[in-house]
Symmetry: C3
Subunit: 318 residues, 3 copies
């Protein structure tokens, strides 16, 4: 059981950053404590477009959590009374109980604590799943994130040799469904509940109005670019909780790509573009060879440029 | 040749069940005889929505067939005179002759017998492919199923060790294209031929009206849930003959996933969600750890909840 | 550096053919010189539908280039003064400098030469990427192709044993976005620039009007079928620079499929259908067992038959 294990509080941070963590576990298994606070809010998802989103800890996607295979993850989920809706959280890394969804339904003003053992190594989506049409609406409104469960002895390359990363970034891709009025202008709403019927109507077309990284078009470009240095191995974790995507690093590659995000499987090598099925997180490692601006896109280039699924990495060095 | 081999008649059953079969072949290769009877019919694909479908043996998808690598499969395809259209069957497990499509064109009132050697181990789609626009129309109207060709010595895990399943389920996912009238109501038709032009019109939008498991929204939920027990290893075979999908077991995992459905390849492990390209069947094995209701979905959650691609597994035990 | 290496001019040819090449490198690394001439032109993409396309060397897709791992590829990119737009080329096989995109911007009347080292073995997309909305517009208008970088000692099968192909074909799949007028007729335009706004409007629906192999519906069917002989191993290289696809060989299989196109990874075997994420090229090998007509399709059968993504292979022998 988890009762006898040491405990560690993990301070979660906004994506694309990851919380402080060790790649190789220094100790036996422990209980990793994290807190997720639900926030329903309006967010500018593209210039001039204010959409209602639902979030874990105020960001789309929610924060990355990091544990090691065999650790327990203890999640406190808080639904402040300022929210309107019931929520919960389903961890794809968990086993049983609808991934925790059954145990974590919280009304505004409530909080709940749930614990699961991280038995599978890999990167995995978590998301709100409060039942019926609430499930796709909450997920397609931003209420999802990811957890990375590292092997206790860290990552291995295609030959089974240990491999370490110098930096890691978490890119959460989100399809959003904002309805337009007859004149083609995106509609806005006085509150979250008022947006629901229209958002569901757009969702049923299966055509997003926006596809963004980290919550907004441009959230990771220009002055918001990620940063790295020549010679660094950078781990990119990409999640999409609902809709397929295909990450690509312009001017770079997936030197190692863990298909489906599974760290105990042999990684693919030398990938130009990799694939993330809707409802999954995938990890790719690249050692930067060249300085300068690199772009990181969903390589449906219409989705990248016209819908917003593009990021930048500024690489220093020579 | 097949003439000297022993013969065995396989009694096909409606999905999600599989016909009785051995996982490890007890004998040398044999001829597995199966019968597919084509039925054009009206089916309630969602509450109040009656669509015309085309079926093998009356179900969408058609029945699972099971053989072993090296067996011959002898298919008798019957097109009763009560049908309106010419049909055939193309087996992705077969080699040459358009997968059998060339040899099996049958008009209403006719039947034909075709034999192929199952030289590739894996799970494979079969479907009607009678030429031109008839191909997508028949396939998108339900006329597809799957065959499982087991290695003679059974399945192996990621380490090459034998692995056995305690149960197996066949989930056939179907995209359907029912046109709506100006008031948003789904149209209905006096006969199959009368539905064709409208269905083709909706197909050309590439947006299904319904995406269902085993022929109807709710066909595998609530009282129709699949059943399993804690500690059982369950093999899920998922086919989609036309459109990409991404199966996910809520509260569970793909402990082993044979990508593309190929049983002689090393399986992926620990998958949260797996991928089925349109025109393929894929197999995943999960050992249930916990009792209670589990859900199994296409993890595009809009497609799962709003379009119908969701199932339940009720797990007994402790 | 590349200065001391021997040089070889590679004569590029229209797809589905590949340029003359050795499967196993006969010498140490060299510099492979190729020339890409940009041509903006009108092309009949389906009977009666004349669309404006942008091309490398006049074909959609552009020509296949072949090199070996460790070779340098030296590309001369010419933009004749008869063109209207600025273009460039981004090689997914290259490293740094936006895949070459930064170094190769050429206005009409200019030409540029760029060299990169082919450090990764596999098949990789190249495409025009001149910035902003020009990127998806140029790519979705046909301005993409592929390069094959062979291991110096050639391809290996799933057991690491050398494998040779007797023929190779390059199939480039292209999603095109021609707008229709109110009466449902495809619109036509006096020049490329005049088509841009409408094409971008259709692109933003994410629904192509046409999905074709080698530039036009029927470009590889009937009298234009590819040809092979029984007993030959044929390598099919399939690229899609923008949108996911799922190749399938009717009556055949992917005996070996290099997922993501990476030749130093162990290939998958016995695939009924394989997957190409948008922005990637993938290679599959099949040894033909039977004579007669084989079809090769994107197995979304609506896309194959109604949108144009189908080809034929005529197989001689017995
Ligand atoms: Cu919620
Ligand atoms: Cu929520
Ligand atoms: Cu048929
Ligand atoms: Cu049919
Ligand atoms: Cu261009
Ligand atoms: Cu261009
Ligand atoms: Na994952
Ligand atoms: Na490699
Ligand atoms: Na398969
Ligand atoms: Na494992
Ligand atoms: Na590739
Ligand atoms: Na094999
Ligand atoms: Zn740990
Ligand atoms: Zn799950
Ligand atoms: Zn989920
Ligand atoms: Zn058998
Ligand atoms: Zn086939
Ligand atoms: Zn097929
Ligand atoms: Zn060479
Ligand atoms: Zn690239
Ligand atoms: Zn690209």
């Amino acid at each position: 059981g988890a009762e006898a294990l040491p405990r560690e509080k993990q301070v979660l941070v906004p994506p694309p950053a990851l919380p402080e963590h060790l790649q190789v576990a220094a100790t036996e298994a422990k209980v990793v404590e994290v807190e997720l606070v639900i926030e329903e809010k309006q967010q500018e998802i593209a210039p001039g477009v204010n959409a209602w989103v639902m979030t874990f800890n105020g960001t789309v996607p929610g924060p990355m959590i990091v544990a090691h295979e065999g650790d327990y993850v203890e999640v406190t989920l808080k639904n402040p009374s300022t929210n309107q809706f019931v929520h919960n959280v389903d961890f794809h890394a968990a086993t049983g109980g609808m991934g925790g969804g059954e145990l974590t339904m919280v009304s505004p003003g409530q909080s709940v604590t749930m614990r699961f053992k991280a038995t599978k190594a890999g990167v995995f989506v978590y998301h709100c799943a409060p039942g019926g049409s609430m499930i796709p609406w909450h997920v397609a409104s931003g209420m999802n994130g990811a957890i990375m469960v590292l092997p206790r002895d860290g990552l291995k390359d295609e030959n089974g040799e240990p491999v370490r990363y110098d930096r890691a970034f978490y890119i959460g891709e989100q399809d959003l469904y904002v309805l337009s009025d007859a004149s083609g202008r995106y509609k806005s709403y006085p509150n979250l509940a008022a947006s629901m019927a229209d958002t569901m109507q757009q969702m049923r077309t299966l055509k997003p109005s926006h596809i963004v990284f980290n919550g907004a078009k441009g959230a990771l470009t220009g002055p918001n670019a990620m940063e790295a240095r020549v010679g660094e191995k950078v781990l990119f974790i990409h999640s999409q909780a609902n809709r397929d995507t295909r990450p690509h690093l312009i001017g770079g590659h997936g030197d190692l790509v863990w298909a489906g995000g599974s760290f105990n499987d042999q990684p693919m090598t030398d990938q130009e573009t990799w694939f993330v099925p809707g409802g999954a997180a995938v990890a790719a490692l690249y050692e930067f060879q060249q300085p300068g601006l690199h772009a990181y896109v969903n390589h449906n280039l219409i989705e990248a440029i016209e819908f917003g699924a593009a990021a930048h990495i500024q690489v220093e060095g020579e």
